[in-house]
């Protein structure tokens, strides 16, 4: 019976089995489908991301900057170059077997001493011992006594494993020679070369040239391996002056390497190598001989000087004192040097960032404004008793006893204040302000140098009302403005451009420091439209005659020499710094007077509270004479070459 019963039940049981088996198959099939789907998803759809992850894990990129281009003066003299910067380095990668052996040695010694070893600390000690061994090799050759810091090694090990570890930086030519001769050729210690900026003329044109500092922000360009873990050698980036303004032009092309690495992150095989390339050169308009002559003539004075070639607007020299030796700022700026320059006020480029009242040199603007409006003629004669009354206030002429009767030429020659008080009030503030704007004194000149100030002031009633909460403009303000005092503030570069404009008879000259030649970046030459001054040639000749007379027998006579007459105008302005009086001495002029080639503006800052420096004629004019002599002396030789 049981057997029969079993036989009866068998098909049903088999059927139930079958159903469960089918269910099991389905589950298995589902699982396999899921697996296959997952596999397909990863293999087909996520291929890119896995490839990228694999690359990230297995490859490393090293970026090496190209050397920067050189900067030359207008005659091809090197102003900024690169000097070799040698370092003794070791690739930690090559020391791995030694690290391992040293680790085992140190570990065994600890065990022999019965100490419980801390493996992490032992690894650090082993690495330090090995690197110190190579440091000792260098110490022996160069007779030094340097010690490696474990913390530095560890930091390098964890952050810059693929870059060489520096044992000795910036080694001299002698030490370099000793190392390459006495280090074994297969030593892991290598002498590597990099570049540091080199300034053959030291502090000459320091502000115009500018300086560089280390940066890891390298232009990568078309280098492959963007997503890879990247190690970078320090590059250089321009911080001020031409180095900053033309950073991209001067910057070398970054080179790179891509390495496959082992699981420890050590180099295995170089896959890609692209060589760094040197940046492009830059030819400036500066004349280094003129620059040095100007700086030498400046001596210990504070201030600025700018010399411009009248025909082209090219800046021949730009002095700002105090300055600094650019070689002190490379390869890095030490704190002491930074503090010293900061204390002296040397970081400021006074030629383009210093704002000063122009004093009597501004009378040229007042003159042309008066000529334009017919309020000044050559024959216009004003009596100067030594003072001028505006309302209840008395304005003095610098000649307290008075100049007597002065016409236009004499007024420029003698720099008579009373003449300009009178004519300034006659023409009104707006005429003077408009004339100043016509010469671009209200805006930056547009020179290529960065950080040219935009805070210059050409005041008028609207400006004063806005600046001083609705305060009215008084006749006294106009009298002050007509002799370049009061609220008026401009830069020495603007005054040099203004002088070049009077010499050439046009406005809108854009000064430039970049030569217009192949290979150079486009300059800002003629950025503004050149326009005629707008007064007749005869009127312009009157101004020139006044300036020539000043250079011959007047206040600017110290700028002339027996070989040439410089047409010029001096100025002396009073300012208050920190609540104490200080004197500014100005000279603006051009030479030779009969064939204008070069225009200069010189400003000398008196020491605060001292006021001991002489006026523009005594202090600034002799510096201008040195510049003129240097330029005209060289021109005799070089004019045929240009």
């Amino acid at each position: 019976m049981p057997k029969r019963k079993r036989q009866q039940h068998a098909p049903q049981a088999h059927k139930a089995y079958k159903q469960r088996l089918v269910l099991l198959y389905l589950v298995i099939a589902l699982c396999f489908s899921l697996l296959a789907g997952g596999l397909a998803y990863r293999q087909l759809l996520q291929t890119e991301s896995y490839l990228a992850a694999e690359e990230r894990q297995n490859y490393r990129r090293i970026l090496k900057p190209g050397p920067r281009g050189n900067i030359y003066d207008r005659n091809g003299e090197l102003l900024v170059g690169n000097r070799p910067y040698f370092s003794a380095t070791v690739y930690l990668n090559e020391l791995r077997p030694e690290f391992r052996r040293e680790f085992i040695r140190v570990l065994n010694r600890r065990r022999e001493q019965g100490l419980t070893p801390d493996r992490f600390a032992l690894a650090i000690e082993a690495r330090r011992n090995v690197v110190q061994r190579y440091q000792n090799q260098i110490n022996r050759i160069l007779d030094r006594n340097d010690v490696v810091e474990p913390r530095r090694i560890e930091r390098h090990f964890s952050q810059n494993l693929l870059l060489p570890y520096p044992l000795l930086l910036d080694i001299s030519a002698e030490d370099y020679a000793r190392l390459i001769e006495q280090l074994p050729i297969d030593s892991p210690v290598q002498v590597t070369a990099d570049t540091a900026r080199y300034y053959p003329h030291g502090s000459a044109a320091a502000h115009a040239l500018g300086y560089v500092s280390d940066s890891q922000e390298l232009p990568v360009g078309d280098l492959p391996g963007e997503g890879l873990l990247t190690f970078r050698f320090d590059g250089k980036v321009g911080r001020t002056g031409l180095e900053a303004r033309f950073n991209e032009h001067l910057q070398g092309v970054t080179g790179g390497e891509i390495w496959s690495v082992d699981p420890g992150g050590f180099q295995h095989e170089r896959i890609v190598f692209e060589q760094p390339k040197r940046g492009q050169d830059l030819v400036t308009t500066l004349d280094i001989r003129l620059q040095r002559a100007a700086e030498q003539a400046f001596g210990d004075y504070l201030g600025a000087a700018v010399a411009i070639e009248i025909s082209s607007g090219e800046v021949l020299a730009m002095v700002s004192k105090p300055d600094y030796d650019l070689n002190d700022l490379t390869p890095f700026i030490p704190h002491t040097v930074d503090a010293r320059i900061r204390e002296e006020g040397g970081w400021l480029n006074r030629a383009i960032q210093g704002l000063y009242p122009p004093g009597s040199t501004f009378k040229l603007i007042t003159t042309s404004a008066g000529l334009r409006r017919g309020l000044i003629e050559q024959s216009t004669e004003i009596y100067c008793p030594g003072y001028f009354r505006v309302g209840r206030r008395t304005f003095r002429c610098h000649n307290r006893s008075g100049h007597g009767h002065e016409n236009l030429i004499e007024a420029i020659r003698d720099s008579c204040n009373v003449f300009y008080y009178d004519r300034g009030l006659a023409m009104g503030v707006q005429a003077i302000a408009d004339e100043a704007r016509r010469f671009g004194l209200h805006e930056p000149t547009g020179i290529e140098l960065p950080n040219e100030t935009r805070r210059m002031i050409v005041p008028d009633p609207a400006w004063k009302a806005n600046r001083f909460y609705g305060e009215s403009w008084f006749d006294g303000d106009t009298a002050n403005l007509s002799i370049g005092q009061g609220f008026l503030l401009i830069t020495p570069l603007q005054m040099a451009v203004m002088t070049a404009s009077y010499a050439r008879g046009v406005t809108g000259i854009t000064p430039t420091v970049v030569r217009d030649q192949a290979g150079n970046p486009g300059s800002r030459r003629n950025q503004r439209a050149i326009e005629a001054i707008g007064i007749t040639d005869e009127q312009l000749a009157w101004i020139h005659t006044g300036m020539i007379e000043a250079g011959r027998t007047g206040t600017a006579r110290r700028a002339s020499s027996p070989n040439f007459i410089a047409a010029g105008k001096t100025g002396t302005a009073q300012i208050r710094r920190d609540g104490r009086p200080a004197t500014l001495a100005w000279y603006v002029g051009f030479a030779p007077a009969d064939d204008p080639q070069i225009a200069v503006a010189i400003l000398i800052e008196g020491v605060i509270g001292d006021g001991a420096i002489g006026g523009g004629g005594a202090t600034a004019a002799p510096i201008a004479r040195t510049i003129f002599e240097q330029w005209i002396g060289n021109s005799d030789i070089e004019l045929s070459q240009r």
Partner: protein, 283 residues
Amino acid sequence: MPRRFSHQGKSLLLGVLILIFWLAAPTFIKQFSRVTFYEFQAPAWTALNYLHDLQDYWNYRQRSKNELIEAGIDMARLQAAYSLRIQEADAIREELGRLERFFELPSLPDYHYEVARVVRRDLNNWWQTLTIRKGRIHGIETGQAVVYSRGVIGRVREVHTYTAVVELISSPRFRSAVHIEGDLRPVEYQGGVNPGLGTPSGMARTIPADVRIPEDGSLRLISSRLGGVFPDGFVVGHLDRIQVGEDGLFQEGRVRLDPGLNTVREVAVLIPASQRRSERVQE
């Protein structure tokens, strides 16, 4: 036949055992064996060299009297010329000494020289060495400069009792600091890969970017005392062409070395005077 196989098998086994022993042997045993082997070999080379000298001697004995007279006359001329050069050198040395005293400059390092015959040449792609017939007992030490009449030969690599091995400047394992004549900046020189025959050459690197090859000639590389091994002024080779190096900072170029390097028979080892002085003090 099986007997022969068995004999071969024993030899093979012995060879394998020797190889295993050699691989497992401590370093000092290997070093000792190598030096001993060399010291046994050296007398054979030296003897061979003496035989060559004897051969040359008999060769010269065969010359006619006329030839000998002509050679004697040439030698007398040379001697006169060299006497004059010696006098000039003495005068220059005195002038140098006077200037050093006047400007209170440190004296230039002084050298003595030890002339040695070449007993063996070993020239191939991997190394280029000479074995000379002077050794430790003559005051020669590792690292000393070796020169000959036409310039630098190399540096002493190994010193044995009666012989020394000189690494030639054409060897890829030779590296030195040199000057371009008239330019005091150091330049790196390294020997190249030179097969045994042909004109030897090397590579000059870290040549400053402003150096140019004159249109009608080549630049002469001379030794520099900056490296601390060679004195100034010995000719290393000539640079006919230079190009911007891989790093873009410097230039580099192949240095043409003197072909006489491969046939030189006599050299001088420069022994620093300071070393001689310290030896005398120890005595």
